[in-house]
Amino acid sequence: MRYLPLTDTDREDMLARIGVPDVDALFSDVPKGKLLKDPLDLPRAKGELEVERILGKMSARNTAAGAVPFFVGAGAYKHHVPATVDHLIQRSEFLTSYTPYQPEIAQGTLQYLFEFQTQIAALTGMEVANASMYDGSTGTAEAVLMAHRVTRRRKAVLSGGLHPHYTQVVETLSEMASDEVVALEADVRATEDILSQIDDSVSCVVVQSPDVFGNLRDLRPIAEKAHAHGALLIAVFTEVVSLGAVVPPGAQDADIVVGEGQSIGNALNFGGPYVGLFAAKSKYIRQMPGRLCGETVDADGRRGFVLTLSTREQHIRRDKATSNICTNSGLCVLAFTIHMTLLGQAGLSRLADVNHANAVKLADALAGVKGAEVLNESFFNEFTVKLAKPAAEVVEAMAAKGVLAGVPVSRLLPGAGLDDLLIVANTEVNTDEDRAAFVAALAEVL
């Protein structure tokens, strides 16, 4: 087996040094009858070629985003990632290293975490950011728990513009912890009255912008009312590229900001691995979940970086920890931070402009399609279209014509009476030809 260096002679010599007759003697603590004698009912070892062949066949059965006009978003987005990113994250020293518990031989990881935290703080307009969460949805649930610790209250109000899967993740964890959640009804046109939900019993209000339907929301009045009642505003985004074009949540007085960072540096990957972005006001640092990297000096006074404030974390505080998180999204963070470094603010604003311009072009083109109506007053690179037919059927029919048109709202919210709504995303990868194909296919199907 190509990955196992020991030879049979080695094994014999080693057993002799240990002083046991065979390797099963080392398994003597396994209860009687529980040690397996025969190999399990699975295929035997295979060479590289064979493994590639098997997995290649499975891969070929899927329609890759890059192979068709592709408009699917709602929480994950198809973007172009520079070749440099994937080359660098496959450097052995990054790929095969561990959590930087020995900082003297992990300064590479620690320095990019520090740079990442700085980038996230700047992008979101917040004072501090952590070294990442698993993804945007789990980060949102962690943010709600954090708000409960800060406010010593246990009730969260979730906007109807929050991605329904994020809502479910928050609800699941909250139900387990016996915390209260008020999830507002799906708010397609961003007209909900969330302010009236805020009172002195509320720990936090969770609002997404751009929301799952693509609307941009004004967070300032919500922050104001929340703060007047001692509650926190948690601002969420699933499309980080939007921060190149829109007012960041930090400028609207959000207390905690959570986002999905997949769009920068990371592939679609059928849902994971992704990278959760997490930032907050600095007065709440000690209640933050996850790893934090901090600057310090070494014995010679030279600048260096370490994981810090770990007294918040599970390996020190055990059942009193701020979170149970241990592993985070290290390599996805690296991909993010390299891509972000290549972009810089100049590249990010340009990228955001192109995304917005492309979305506007499609929205304009849809004005000429009978039976399709764009509902959004404002949007970034994603909007919701009301169709004359059930969106799920339209999507299937358009897929048959080779266009992946978007996410039917019924996929996210079945039984909500929103079956005629389709969420459509446009990024820099979409060409004029793609949009023409979209419009033509939609017109045929409707």
């Binding site: 009912d41 891969s59 561990y98 740079e115 945007g136 994971g272 149970n324 810089g344």
Partner: protein
């Protein structure tokens, strides 16, 4: 260009001792500033054409003012990150014996197949009719995991080990609630030797934690567990093999005692690498166990993630598995994404994450499993255990074993008894290993022994590599008794950076780069 007229260098010319360099660089080791110190706000390494003028639909939400981030051109960025990488130690650099972390070889085949467009370039919400191969891969991975563990169900979606723990414990909580005992069964037993995530997880989802004492031989005794059992106990969270590197001999009895008391057995599967193909958790009475694909099944640790933590479930817990999952009926598979969509008899407790979990890791793990096969995975576990015991046999005359009565599994635990009176601590010893070219073992964990050193070589090491490692540790161990203490107490001497002031980092947290204030001119 090669200078053909130049003279060959000779060692004799390098007689004089080293001096500090002007730059602070040391040849291949370069001091690398932060991107904020080398980049410019107008620079970019990505060429994007400006869109033609259009009417913005951002409304009043358009960003005012700049973000405040520099960019780097591509050559600058390449050099920056390559230099950073050179300050890191990885498995590909050398032996990485980090106990309980299973730092085994990361095959590049797995990286290659994970990047196939049919896996990496598919969206979690595109029509399922366009991703049959993705569902097939998930089902195949599930089949392998269920077969290897002897368990009837698996929830794939948890994003990492601790997330898997949460998933398993939520299933237990849901099962208890379904029996109408939700209000009364709220205590979880956790051995003192457990990984910190176990008590943190139990607390996260509203259980209170009661500690199970460790026996002097490093195991958990069924009698101690029984003494804590009562109608308020929901579950035990037990790591097996445990964090002392020992297979819990009374595990079957402990599982039976839990079940008899109406409680569940959560097994922390962090150390599954010791027993793949040798023993199945399902045969031991386990109700739920997470599997760290980034440990046992070699998906890269990547400097701290991403991980993946699928959870195998017993018959009793399977109905409560979270959405999404793939349901197979009559040879047809269907992705179930909503509670209301679950087949008859299922009552999903909720959702762990936005999408389907760590697909990128599933592909890598399945590539590992296909490559090894049933025979190779069994051999890998045997070799991992053999390697750990070989290190133990080669060092136990110099270093002290707290638990000599049990064979080690895939990792061997030493304590610091043997360092007493030397003035050298476990930490000092670990830092001296860095100078010798090794990543240190896990130190000060588990908490049940003093100055713990937990060594896990994995199956990826050759005998020659182990012999060299053992010889180095023996030299170091002997040196702890000598006069040159600074070899240890001031170590590392040869790393890119010396020991760092962690206290300062925590007392005065600096968590991001700030533009230095301009230096004020001296008052006139």
């Amino acid at each position: 260009m090669l200078n053909r007229q130049g003279r060959p260098t000779a060692a004799g010319e390098a007689e004089s001792r080293s001096h500090e360099t002007f730059t602070g660089n040391r040849a291949l080791q370069q001091i690398e500033p932060l991107i904020f110190e080398i980049g410019h706000r107008e620079s970019t390494g990505v060429d994007i054409e400006k869109p033609a003028p259009f009417k913005s639909r951002l409304g009043k939400h358009a960003r005012q003012g700049e973000i405040g981030l520099p960019g780097l051109s591509e050559p600058e960025a390449m050099r920056h990150y390559v230099r950073l990488s050179q300050k890191n130690y990885g498995i590909d650099t050398g032996l990485f014996p980090l106990g309980s972390c299973t730092m085994k070889h990361n095959a590049r085949l797995n990286e290659k197949v994970a990047r196939l467009p049919g896996f990496s370039d598919v969206h979690p919400l595109q029509p399922t009719s366009t991703v049959p191969g993705a569902l097939e891969l998930m089902l195949e991975l599930a089949r392998y995991l269920m077969t290897l563990t002897g368990m009837p169900a698996v929830a794939l979606s948890p994003k990492a080990g601790a997330h898997g723990e949460a998933c398993g414990m939520m299933a237990i909580k849901a099962a208890i609630a379904a029996k109408g005992e939700g209000a009364t069964r709220n205590v979880v037993l956790v051995p003192e030797s457990a990984h910190g995530t176990n008590p943190a997880t139990a607390a996260l989802i509203g259980f209170s934690v009661k500690a199970v004492p460790a026996r002097p031989d490093g195991t958990v005794a069924v009698e101690d567990v029984k003494a804590l059992l009562g109608p308020e106990v929901a579950a035990i969270m037990l790591t097996n093999p445990n964090t002392c590197g020992i297979f819990e001999p009374e595990i079957v009895e402990i599982a039976a005692a839990m079940h008899e008391a109406g409680a569940y057995f959560y097994c922390d599967g962090a150390n599954f690498n010791a027993i793949v193909g040798k023993a199945r958790p399902g045969d031991l009475g386990v109700d739920a166990m997470h599997i760290n694909l980034h440990k046992t099944f070699s998906t890269p640790h990547g400097g701290g993630g991403p991980g993946a933590g699928p959870v195998v479930l017993s018959e009793r817990l399977a109905p409560f598995a979270p959405v999404p999952f793939i349901h197979v009926e009559g040879g047809k598979s269907r992705l179930v994404e909503h509670k209301g969509d679950a087949p008859e008899g299922n009552d999903p407790f909720g959702r762990m994450t936005a999408f389907h979990g760590q697909m990128g890791m599933y592909v890598r793990a399945l590539a590992y499993m296909l490559s090894h096969g049933a025979d190779g995975m069994k051999q890998a576990s045997e070799d991992a255990v053999l390697n750990a015991n070989y290190i133990r046999a080669s060092l136990s005359d110099l270093m002290s074993l707290p638990f000599p009565d049990h064979p080690s599994m895939h990792e061997v635990l030493f304590d610091d008894e043997w360092l007493k009176g030397t003035g050298v601590s476990t930490l000092d010893f670990a830092k001296a290993m860095i100078d010798e070219g090794y990543h240190p073992m896990t130190v000060y964990f588990p908490l049940v022994v003093h100055g713990a050193m937990l060594i896990e070589p994995t199956e990826s090491e050759s005998k020659a590599a182990l012999d060299l490692f053992v010889a180095t540790l023996r030299d170091l161990a002997i040196a702890t008794k000598g006069n040159d203490k600074s070899r240890f107490t001031a170590a590392p001497h040869h790393a890119p950076i010396r020991r760092l002031d962690e206290t300062r980092a925590a007392r005065q947290p600096v968590l991001k780069w700030e533009k230095p204030a301009p230096v004020k001119e001296a008052a006139e």
